[in-house]
Symmetry: C2
Amino acid sequence: MPEIRGYATHAAGAELLAYRYEVGELGADEVQVRISHCGICRSDLHLIDNDWQVSKFPFVPGHEIVGTVEAVGKAVQKLQPGERVGVGWQSGSCGNCTWCRSGKENLCPDSQPTCVHRNGGFADAVRVPARFIIPIPEALESENAAPLLCAGITVYTPLRTYGVSPASRVAIVGVGGLGHLALQFARVFGAEVTAFSTSPAKEEEARAMGAHHFCNSRESKGMKALGGSLDLIISTVNADQDWSAFLTTLRPEGVLCLVGAPSRPLQIPGSLLIQAARTVSGSNTGSPLALAEMLDVAARHKVKAQTERFPMGRVNEAVAKVRKGAVRYRAVLAN
Amino acid sequence: MPEIRGYATHAAGAELLAYRYEVGELGADEVQVRISHCGICRSDLHLIDNDWQVSKFPFVPGHEIVGTVEAVGKAVQKLQPGERVGVGWQSGSCGNCTWCRSGKENLCPDSQPTCVHRNGGFADAVRVPARFIIPIPEALESENAAPLLCAGITVYTPLRTYGVSPASRVAIVGVGGLGHLALQFARVFGAEVTAFSTSPAKEEEARAMGAHHFCNSRESKGMKALGGSLDLIISTVNADQDWSAFLTTLRPEGVLCLVGAPSRPLQIPGSLLIQAARTVSGSNTGSPLALAEMLDVAARHKVKAQTERFPMGRVNEAVAKVRKGAVRYRAVLAN
């Protein structure tokens, strides 16, 4: 039997150990991808720690995968061995619901993540249904493209959902793995871009990545100056925030869209929503169609993840550094 | 000097007293309306009680006004004495901002309510700028039309904002002054309509007003059965709710829109928003254009407020009954 070699977590919060798992005959609709790079996302840490109570041990984390097609199942069309491809957060869906049939597979109630009850990308290979294999445009470097497959699409989707244009004023909360890509994409959409961060040290980099303005969200003076001015705020952070303060920076009909989930419920005064017809929403990754579009935009507009590369064998060191929030801005494992 | 006679509140929470105020020459852009009817809205009670800390005493409450044009200022066109018209929550705006210029005056940051720092409709007449005078279609009875000018437009706006169609599943939280109109309008839009209420006694009337389904939101079995099924929930209530329970009844991309504001902040788990790209938003009244459209829809589709009429002189009795929540479903004062 063929086997795949990678690194698996065997218990909540444990270090990853070298791991092999057997795979049988390739399914008719499946593709085997030989992995060159895999980004480390905060969601991998949540799964390793079983924070969401959905992890099934042992498993191989990793869902920002770039590699080449190694083999395709009998029914797979349009993918050839040797082709460079990517795999993101999602690797399965029902294929039949409203969402699947309208090109929004990420909203399918039966969506199957790449590394939940499956083995993901901290490995030499992965098997994924062809529907969730995304071609990588030639202009993108594999190492910089890998983080686009989860972090990138996660911040790209709300820019599209809310129709961001050169007339828009967009702010990004948090300059990190997601935030540094959000700033670049928001700039590509032509928006006037504000970076919210509590780390003044990140101002220079935030500006280099596309921010016209930098605001320390702990400073009420700066927040007040933004009052009623923003069309869209994308919040990438997991820490609790003073959501009322952010809401007051929104114009009428403005949107605060979460792509990072704080562990405690948000406190939202209803009057702040009603007064100016404001919205608080959430957005999750994106469909295969959206992924392909986003990669095309990234290639044409030179959006790329700023990465720190680790050999696959040093996965525990990389995970520890992500855990500390010390990576600028995305850790990528390379085979 | 001409004068207007009505009933004013002189201190927070006090009974209304007969009141006269002098008015000078009619402004060039103003219209004087001889009032026949005025609905009592919960917002009037909030203003009487100074709950929002914006009331300036003494003042005449009332902002669901129907009457006839008595006089028009020199610059007023297209309004003739004798014409039947209405006035709602809003009586002023800057006229120059993005919102005013795009027919969304209700979102103008300088919006001026009809009875805040002004005198409203618990009176024999009122003066309002012509821009905020709304013609009343002939088919509507004045008494039933008055509550449409605030309660009606408040629930109509989100149905339009969120594109409700015959394919939509819409739920209304609360069967009261706003809710009973929301059920009727949702049905007119062709939606499958669910009424959420904690008063089983209201089921029959809710169904008569348009609800296909009735769900006691305190019963978890019924709430679970609705899981992931609704496109839009319009919440008309001021009481705190288990918002998570409502959010789980929404489909992917579903919207919970508040038109009633609970006094305490909503507790919203970010994960419920992100998971299925759900939205929590607020909506406030509607513009003059929207008011005219809503009245036209009401006239053609026979939407009408179920009212309890009180002579203007019994305003305190009427206010007391509204305060107790004992009116089915809207109190209207009549001259």
